[in-house]
Every structure is written in structure tokens, then in C-alpha cells.
């Protein structure tokens, strides 16, 4: 329903952030996220950073499986 892209914040200025995904850079809106800093990872959808995230899915899935079993 919504293609999301996880990307690293490389620059912040006045409500916008430049994000980097594998060397592809784009300016996106950072208006929905407070306190973003370069180095943070965000989920980007339709040119807007919608959530601050952790980049790797390993810990998350490991922990879920741990709790499940």
C-alpha cells in the first residue's frame, strides 16, 4: 500500500532532511519528525520522513522469535 524506503539522514535544515539510500540522495520533508539528527535512520514515504527507525531488522525479528517460543 505504501512503498517505504529506509534511509540515513545526512543533512537537516528547516523542516527538510537530505536522506541517503545506497548513495542515492534526496531532499525530503522532515516536518513530521522532531529532533532529527544527521546519522538517524528514517522511513520515507512519498517524499516525507514518516518515522524514525532502527535500520536493521535482525534484533527486532530475533527478539520477536525469542518471545514467541
Amino acid at each position: 500500500m505504501c512503498v517505504g524506503l529506509s534511509a540515513k539522514v545526512v543533512k537537516i535544515s528547516e523542516g527538510t532532511a537530505v536522506v541517503d539510500a545506497g548513495g542515492a540522495k534526496r531532499k525530503v520533508s522532515a516536518q513530521l519528525l522532531e529532533d532529527l539528527e544527521p546519522g538517524d535512520y528514517v522511513m520515507v514515504h512519498a517524499g516525507v520522513a514518516i518515522a524514525k527507525i532502527t535500520d536493521e531488522d535482525d534484533d527486532e525479528t530475533d527478539q520477536l522469535m525469542e518471545e514467541l517460543l
Binding site: 516536518q31 517524499g47 514518516i50 527507525i53 531488522d57 514467541l68
Partner: protein, 355 residues
């Protein structure tokens, strides 16, 4: 249970020997990724995956395309749109067809880019085709806010935005477990999902990587066997229980609920999202007095049934014959996320029979 600790998500899925279960991936990106990763090949026969209505392009009714074509051809408006919508058939033609007749159709990456185009082309009237669920609506609202700030009178939205809660109501009976759309939940949080659990509706929020999808499915199967309604957030690295307050506030401030037509599901009361009165200068329907248009879908197309899980794409008479990604008859064949498109693209026999 000590032994079981070592089982991976994949082993749990492959060796599932519990009762038959229907899992609906609500989100079209899930449908797409599940096919792309070949996850259906891992499922035992009693696990059925149903592709739900979570593809904004697929649920957008024919009449919406007709409205956009009307704006482009009759009002000479420049249409800015996400690429997915360009080939969706309208009653008479798609936007690609209108482009052949001279309509100006621009594909953009984001609503902000459409607003920027309007700012740089003050001599043109620019309309952005605003589709999407809770995830996309904030981006579209932000573009309107920016347009107001830039004092633009040549930018507006043609809206077909939708919200999920009412759709869940409509879909309640069609699956045993929902794979909730992770990026919608990133905005809305998980309160509604937890509430649905109380009503006996089970589900998990799922992410989009191979690991995340396998984990979400494994969690679903293990919990389903326990027999009680459940909810698990399997995408905590992105989805927080409270969601995005900023996005929620923005949407609340600028939009209100309205009735909305879903292809296949019909009009669902209060399932749509439109701009509030104070923003009506940016509402293309009001601005251009778009006449009421009753779109007519091709009667042979069963997109509607497909979207509700009532039939598989391969059950539709035109599927793969008249209707192909090159010559789509219905929206589900156009969008990358559409169930028909996914079945056609990835549709070898094994995945089709298990669909």
C-alpha cells in the same frame, strides 16, 4: 519446548500442521513482496494467503480517473500524479490515453514536487491526484500547506484518500488473521488493532523485509494455534504504539471524514478523507466544479471480487487473456501491488493454486 526454541520462523511456517487458516495481507506492498520473495512456496496447503484491498490504485474507482481525464482535457489542467495511476483504465480512457490526446500528465515522486512544479509554472493550473491511505495523506496535506504559504492559486488536490478503520469493519469476516499494513500503522499506531482484538479480530503488524514477513507469518501461525484472538506488533523498529502524533494532528487539522467509493467494495460511509472547508480553495472538485461522473468499469472485470478475496485473479474470464499488464482492463492489473498484476507477473502454477 526447549527444542522448539531453536526453530526459525521459516521452519515454523514450513512445518505448520495446525488447522486451516486464512491470512489476509491487507497491504499491496506486502502482496508484492510476498510474491517477489517466493514466500507462498513455503506455505503448507492449509495456510491460505488472501490479497486484501490495500492498494490505493486498485481501490480507486473508475470515476476518479474520469474526473482527472476531464480536468486534463476539458480544463487544460496539468495533472501531476504518482506513476501507478497513469495506466488505470477510466470509462473511456486512461491518463495515458488522455496524454496521447495532448493532455499534460506529469509523473512525480511526491506531492511536494507537484506543489513545486505549480510554483515554478504559475501560468499553468496544476492538480495533484491525491490517493492513498493514512501513510500518504500527510504528504498531500503538507503540499497544500506549502501551497498556501507560497500563496499559490494554481495548485489543488483531486482527492480519493481513504482511511482503513471502516475497511476493516467491512472485511472482518474475510480472514482469520490480518497482516496489518506496517506503514499505515507507523502513522496511526496500534490502538485500533488492539481494539479489534477485543472484537475477536486477530492480526499482526508486519514489516516488509524477508525476515520481517517470515517472522510475522510465524507469529501469526503460532498464535492462531493457541486459539485466542491476538495482536502482535511485529514491526516495532518502525511502528510505535502511539504512531506519529505529528501526522495525526496534521491530518486532523486539515481533513475530515467523508463517504468514499472503493472499487469492488462500493461506497463505505465515512471511509474517505477530504479537505476541511477552510482549505476548499485547494479542493479541485470545488475549484473546477467537476460535474458528477458515474464511471463505468468493464463489466467482465472482477477486480471487485478479487479485492474482497471472493475470487482469485485466475477465476476472472479476462485475466491473462484480454487483461494483461500491457493492456489492463482493471486497476488490479495495473498497479505493481495489484493482486492480478502480481498473479500475472509471478503466476506460475504453484503460487496460483495456493493463492
Amino acid at each position: 519446548m526447549g527444542e522448539e526454541k531453536k526453530r526459525t520462523a521459516r521452519e515454523i511456517i514450513e512445518n505448520y500442521d495446525g488447522p486451516a487458516v486464512r491470512i489476509m495481507e491487507v497491504c499491496g506492498t506486502h502482496t508484492h513482496e510476498i510474491f517477489r520473495l517466493g514466500i507462498r512456496k513455503l506455505l503448507p496447503p492449509q495456510v491460505e494467503l488472501i490479497s486484501g484491498p490495500g492498494c490505493p490504485v486498485c481501490v480507486t474507482p473508475v470515476g476518479f480517473i474520469d474526473e482527472a481525464v476531464w480536468l486534463a482535457l476539458e480544463k487544460n489542467v496539468t495533472i501531476c500524479t504518482f506513476g501507478d495511476l497513469v495506466r488505470v483504465p477510466g470509462t473511456k480512457m486512461s491518463l495515458a490515453g488522455a496524454r496521447e490526446k495532448g493532455a499534460k500528465i506529469r509523473i512525480v515522486y511526491s506531492p511536494a514536487d507537484a506543489e513545486k512544479y505549480a510554483l515554478e509554472h504559475l501560468e499553468e493550473q496544476v492538480v495533484f491526484l491525491s490517493v492513498g491511505f493514512e501513510t500518504t495523506t500527510p504528504a498531500e496535506c503538507l503540499s497544500v500547506k506549502q501551497a498556501k504559504k507560497d500563496e499559490l492559486s494554481n495548485y489543488s488536490l483531486l482527492m480519493a484518500n481513504k482511511a482503513m478503520p471502516q475497511a476493516y469493519e467491512a472485511l472482518k469476516g474475510s480472514a482469520d488473521v490480518f497482516l496489518y499494513p506496517g506503514h499505515v500503522n507507523a502513522i496511526t499506531g496500534t490502538e485500533l488493532c488492539e481494539h479489534l482484538t477485543e472484537e475477536g479480530v486477530s492480526g499482526v503488524v508486519a514489516g516488509f523485509t524477508a525476515k520481517e514477513l517470515l517472522t510475522a507469518l510465524a507469529v501469526s501461525l503460532v498464535k492462531f494455534q493457541e486459539g485466542k484472538p491476538f495482536f502482535v506488533n511485529c514491526y516495532p523498529r518502525v511502528v510505535k504504539p502511539e504512531g506519529s502524533r505529528e501526522a495525526q494532528q496534521l491530518t486532523e487539522e486539515m481533513t475530515e471524514a467523508c463517504d468514499s467509493e472503493w472499487r469492488g467494495l462500493g461506497v463505505i460511509p465515512r471511509s474517505g478523507v477530504c479537505l476541511k472547508k477552510e482549505w476548499s480553495d485547494f479542493d479541485a472538485r470545488k475549484k473546477y466544479n467537476i460535474p458528477p461522473i458515474q464511471g463505468k468499469a468493464n463489466p467482465a472485470c472482477r477486480c471487485g471480487d478479487v479485492l474482497q478475496g471472493k475470487c482469485k485473479p485466475s477465476d476472472c474470464k479476462v485475466f491473462g487473456k484480454v487483461c494483461t499488464p500491457q493492456h489492463p482492463v482493471g486497476a488490479c492489473m495495473v498497479s505493481n501491488e495489484g493482486a492480478c498484476s502480481a498473479y500475472y507477473a509471478y503466476g506460475d502454477n504453484t503460487s496460483a493454486t495456493r493463492g
